[in-house]
Symmetry: C2
Subunit: 324 residues, 2 copies
């Protein structure tokens, strides 16, 4: 069934949940929202293009989930609580058979995280999803990239590199991103690539605990490089402390797994820095969230990123869309 632009918009509008701070939702020239008093507004925008940011054959539900997840991950990295988003969707053709599962995936995550879709646009064009997400954080409590201090521990959530591992399997023709893999390790990695979990609870809990934070979307060393540059400090990573997941090691062996963890993009874990006095509190937080938090280095005087004990060439690079 081919859908008209207005039908498309209505089909999205009627699925979004209500929030008390929405004075006017989809259906006018703009939405009208009521920001909370004494909160700052955190705003981020990320676009996913078919064939560039996800395999073109990905299931529509996975695309919908991931397009929102990458934006929520940025809010998590600021310690912001999700509030509203806009969705700009370019589609080669408007088919209910594609749109409905896409919306299933998107709203599964939107509803779980409390974010409402308040506006957007549907246009004809190559498949592309642009989301601008807005969240709120009390003034002075946001987790910024420029707050790292010399002597801070560097922490990473979860098991970085798993999404990059899945992408590598797919590129090698060893993984079908559309269907559950028979191999349990491969299936675990596939889920991490197609259904990344933005670390929203962690981000909120890190208010007042972390000095600096970023999400790992460009690769751990690259994103720590952003913290180093913005904070005017050096990042020293101990490669042998990296929490390599059993699934990643099973699929690739140690060296390639480490390379994925240090340089692979698309992870959406949080890396952050905190004073050594916070170790106990962060251990307790890890338990309460059932999410591994691992110390992988320290902040030192100087500039740039140094990775000790890395078998690779030590370059602090991540994924760049326009890089050669």
């Amino acid at each position: 069934m081919s859908l008209d632009e207005f039908v498309l918009i209505e089909r999205i509008a009627r699925r979004t949940h209500a929030r008390d701070d929405i004075a006017l939702g989809i259906g006018d020239d703009a939405a009208l929202l009521r920001p909370a008093a004494d909160q700052q507004l955190a705003v981020t925008a990320d676009t996913l293009n078919a064939g560039v940011h996800f395999p073109a054959e990905s299931a529509p539900a996975d695309i919908g989930w991931k397009a929102l997840a990458v934006n929520l991950s940025d809010l998590a990295a600021m310690g912001a609580a999700p509030a509203w988003c806009t969705l700009s969707l370019s589609l080669p053709q408007a088919e209910a058979a594609w749109l409905d599962p896409f919306a299933d995936g998107l709203f599964a995550l939107a509803d779980a995280s409390g974010i409402a879709v308040v506006g957007g646009d549907t246009t004809r064009g190559p498949l592309s999803i642009s989301i601008t997400a807005m969240g709120q954080v009390p003034a002075g409590q946001a987790l910024r990239r420029d707050g790292a201090r010399v002597g801070d521990d560097i922490w990473i959530s979860g098991h970085p590199g798993e999404a990059a591992g899945a992408l590598r399997l797919w590129q090698q023709g060893r993984l079908d991103v559309r269907h559950a893999a028979a191999d349990a390790a491969h299936e675990h990695l596939r889920q991490r690539l197609q259904r990344p979990a933005p670390r929203l609870e962690l981000g909120l809990a890190l208010r007042g605990l972390a000095h600096a934070a970023a999400d790992v979307s460009d690769g751990l060393l690259a994103d720590l490089g952003h913290i180093a540059a913005r904070s005017g400090v050096a990042v020293v990573v101990q490669a042998d402390t990296m929490p390599l997941s059993p699934a990643l090691r099973a699929a690739f062996g140690f060296d390639a797994a480490l390379d994925c963890a240090l340089r692979g993009g698309d992870d959406y874990e949080l890396c952050f820095t905190a004073a050594p006095e916070r170790r106990e509190a962060l251990g307790a937080l890890s338990s309460s969230l059932a999410l591994p938090l691992t110390r992988v280095g320290v902040i030192a005087e100087g500039r740039g990123v140094r990775c000790e004990g890395d078998a690779g060439d030590g370059r602090a690079s991540g994924y760049r869309h326009f890089a050669e």
Copy 2:
């Protein structure tokens, strides 16, 4: 010169002007903004795709201007003052020779309207520009589509149909959108298509004057249809009162000019309704803004849109991206 993703972002970031209400601009996971107390946040998102929303050969500066203009027009239609926006830019290749004039066009309008670019994303892909614009309006003063009342006059700003006329000339091979036309009427229409002027001052001035408003992006009858539907009233348009521009009549003659004015999209004028008691105030406003404001109909009991004195077939249609 081919540009890296991070260089691209910096090239945008350093051109945006400062605002006191930006706590943290481009360069972190999200921007941090300070919404004004007692104001509502107006949020809108519009995407322009090459070959769908503008001729692919358009000058980069015109594309940059228009991508922002269509979003500012939505803020104008709400009576909101522009504040911040995000810019998601998909480019086949990152060339300074394209990006710099694109930014020239975008920032010419951004700086004139006071809106700051606070975030965004650059990705590789077919040329597409998604902007989410945020503005502010005192609670209760926004111009909504659902406020039209029986007995209201219907007003239109400027000369609707000019952009549609230019598009028609281009489709007929009579207009080069990249270069100034020798024919003065054609050049006037070309400017209206490529450099639409969002009616921001008018939108702000209509707070407290207009009962309902919308921008004319889908075509006047279609957009008045949205007001009728949302307000639960009928719209009656007198075609013989339509302010047809001399340039449009010169290029097409009366009948085709009227068709452009009633059904052409891409205009970005404001249509609005107001009580008859407001005629004098609106006449004075028209003079002070040096912008024609013309009464073109009335709000009546009932539903839908009726166009009296129209030589066409009376269908209330506008441009729909997915329509047959």
